[in-house]
């Protein structure tokens, strides 16, 4: 094929008359013998033959390397990119999901016996989607206009980043602290732990206390605390060593509880302030907003 570019103008230079028999042969790029036979017409003899061989070798080697690379890539994709490897983690019954959701609020005292950590992704995924929907509901309930597309992207990003990011961090710490827990178990544990966050956000949106955060802190302590204790109990039962247990339990408790605080003060609080500002009666409400800010700053 590479020779066609060289021989064609040479043929043209030699004669103005095009031989149709040669034209057909000339266009057949897959005929290497034809290409081979055109070499000597250049007039350089062995030199052009060696060049031709070298070029063909290069092409063949390039083709072989490309084929080998493509096959390896396809094999790697079929092995790791095949989402069918996640199928076993979605094989659950409705009563199992219900039981696991309720158990995520029932901590058990850590003992020498390992507490069960489920390898399941359906329930945690549904909890994360529920949290996203509740964040959207929270925004809508405040009746302020924001760009919904950006809001949905933010909700997706925040929730999935927390779920996967925290699981990745805990997996790394578990590896360092030699805890007997896998990444799927961590994803499942953290996912079910978000059920407490869903309850707090739902109740916080339906029961709207505009000036006082006491109700929120109560919910945060009860539901957030119960789900945190559950996760801590599971991890402690699977870790040996006091310092390792301390590192893992403090990390997961801090991140889990702080995330709920973040969801409230980053979304609900801003939404409340905005809706308060956009409402009528700005003169009456302004001092309360100022007092609220002062109270928040004192609390923090």
């Amino acid at each position: 094929m590479a020779d066609r570019g060289q021989s064609w103008p040479t043929q043209q230079d030699e004669s103005a008359i095009i031989d149709l028999g040669d034209v057909n042969d000339r266009d057949d790029g897959s005929d290497y013998e034809t290409d081979m036979s055109r070499g000597p017409t250049d007039g350089s003899g062995k030199g052009s033959l060696e060049e031709d061989v070298r070029k063909r070798l290069t092409d063949n080697v390039t083709q072989m390397v490309w084929n080998a690379g493509t096959q390896q890539a396809k094999r790697a994709w079929s092995l790791y990119g095949n989402i069918d490897i996640l199928r076993p983690y979605f094989n659950v019954e409705p009563h199992e999901v219900r039981t696991r959701l309720l158990q995520s609020f029932l901590p058990r005292m850590p003992s020498s016996e390992k507490q069960r950590a489920y390898r399941e992704l359906y329930g945690p995924l549904m909890v994360v989607f529920t949290l996203i929907a509740l964040l959207l509901f929270q925004m809508k309930a405040a009746e302020h206009k924001v760009e919904e597309g950006t809001l949905m992207g933010t909700a997706f990003g925040v929730c999935f980043t927390y779920w996967w990011g925290t699981a990745a961090l805990m997996w790394f710490l578990s590896y360092v602290c030699n805890a007997h827990i896998t990444s799927i178990q961590l994803l499942s544990l953290l996912g079910y732990g978000l059920a407490g966050h869903c309850v707090v956000i739902l109740l916080g949106t339906l029961i709207h206390t505009s000036h006082d955060h006491l109700f929120f802190y109560l919910l945060w302590a009860v539901f957030g605390g119960l789900s945190t204790l559950k996760m801590v109990g599971v991890i402690l039962s699977r870790t040996h060593g006091k310092s390792q247990r301390l590192i893992l339990s403090c990390t997961i408790a801090a991140i889990h509880l702080l995330f709920l605080l973040y969801l409230h003060f980053a979304y609900h609080q801003i939404v409340e302030d905005l809706s308060r500002v956009l409402d009528s009666d700005p003169v009456v409400k302004q001092p309360e907003v100022v007092n609220n800010v002062r109270t928040v700053s004192k609390d923090s």
Binding site: F90, V92, Y122, L125, G149
Partner: protein, 189 residues
């Protein structure tokens, strides 16, 4: 082309080839009988769905329902065709992934889009009622919850009948409920 107009070839004459051609709607895959059957299956969620009803995955009905949904929202003063499209795409992709993980046989994108599109009909009825009454009162909340439950029940019924997952209908209904819940947020707020 099976024939040429005005051609004088011996094989085909223009009048025969024109009559042999299937109707335009059939060529486009629009079958009004199937559309009617599927619509009635959605409107009556307690009636058992046929297993092969959703094998014929047509998108004409869902497209009409999505446009009707957007149109009824427009009558309420909300231009949200883009959000309907965006939420629809995200919801369909999520359901496609989930159902492929949960079912033994797997499901095609067309089937998912078709089912979710047809089951949007109760939401169209809700958004049409929003033209006449406010959905933020107690009646509106009840109607909204009813519409979401109706949509998710119908869609889960069609999915489990197509994929033979009868014992997992609540697990299919819940994510459908989340998708239609977001559509309900569009309608109410």
């Amino acid at each position: 082309m099976s024939g040429e107009f005005g051609g004088n070839d011996g094989f085909y004459s223009s009048s025969d080839s024109y009559e042999d051609e299937p109707p335009l709607l059939e060529e486009l895959g629009i079958n009004f009988d199937h559309i009617t059957q599927k619509t009635l299956a959605v409107l009556n969620p307690f009636k058992a769905a046929e297993h092969d009803m959703m094998q014929d995955t047509d998108l004409a009905g869902p497209l009409v329902f999505c446009l009707a949904f957007g149109g009824s929202l427009m009558l309420c003063g909300k231009l949200q065709f883009g959000y309907i499209y965006g939420i629809g795409v995200v919801g369909c992709m999520a359901m496609y992934f989930l159902l492929n993980m949960m079912s033994l046989t797997g499901v095609s994108v067309g089937c998912v889009v078709s089912v979710l599109g047809y089951c949007l009909l109760p939401m169209v009825i809700l958004s049409s009622s929003a033209v006449l009454l406010s959905l933020k009162g107690m009646i509106g909340i009840v109607l909204t919850v009813l519409a979401v439950v109706w949509c998710s029940f119908s869609s889960s019924k069609l999915f489990v009948s197509a994929l033979s997952m009868e014992n997992q209908q609540p697990l299919v209904a819940y994510p459908c409920g989340l998708v239609y819940g977001v559509f309900a947020l569009l309608t109410v707020f």
